[in-house]
Amino acid sequence: MNRRLLLLLLPLGFLIVALFFYQRLQHDPSARDSALMARAFPAFEATTLRDESHHIDQRLLEGELTLVNVWGEWCPACKQEMPQLLELADHGIRMVGVNYRDTREKGKSFLDEYGDPFEVNIFDPEGDLGFDLGVYGAPETFLVDAEGIIRYHHKGYISPEDVTQRILPEVAKWR
């Protein structure tokens, strides 16, 4: 009796563990939440991309829901997501860019060529703000609410489907 129970438990235990591992196999390891979720946008001091005498800090993001997009001229996916960002700006969403690890010249010519949905661009040539945001590749996009708290994080390219299925619902949720 006892032995039969033991013999039944063994494959059962194995099955449970196997199912658990199988389920984790389906899981994309790069799909994980930003460590900054539900935390304040990091403090920073910078100048804007277009005006090196214009100093800005984290207060820039207070008072209105803002979509913060981290981009660089060197980043091919950033070029491809520009039409989607322009569309989001057309929806009346306030857009702020972080020009990440770039030069002023290259950044400005990028905006001239691909369009400029941003109210302002934070110039981050050394990637310090990017580091504090936990950015490890561009593009990355953060939704920051009117209190300056990060509410949503989109890693990588924003596709046209992402605009309607992810970004717009999140904006509606936190507005």
Binding site: N2, R32, D33, S34, A35, F131, D132, G134, V135, Y136
Partner: protein, 158 residues
Amino acid sequence: MALIRLFKAALFFGLVLTALSAAAGGIEVREFDDPLLAQRYHDLTASMRCPLCENQAIGDSDAPISADMRERVYRMLQEGRADSEIINHMVERFGDYILYNPRLESRTYLLWGLPVGLGVVGCLVVVLVVRARRNASAKALSAEERARLDALIDRRPS
């Protein structure tokens, strides 16, 4: 003989390759005045996972973000920060994902506890089984058999 020559060639090739990759500047060489600091730098960069490359320590990854993180570790070490401060600094930005050794906290009790728990359960099962067997073999003899056994033992030449 040919084998040795081949081995030598392979070794030489390997050395050249190592030298070349070092020259290509994949991972920078850092100078420390204090060997203890160099050891801490090595341990810290080996204990953190590159956020971009899934399974490579920042100490041997040439992803740009790993270089940034190494630079930050180096700078914080030079500032005299403690290891725990440096680790917290990184986890605050890049999440628990970067820790090869997850920290012991309420969320990770199961992770750390399960192997110990399973070990204890395993020992218990072994003890129970051994005990059950011992009882079973003792019980297996009827009074008759026991008498016969005793008789057999007594007959044994001394």
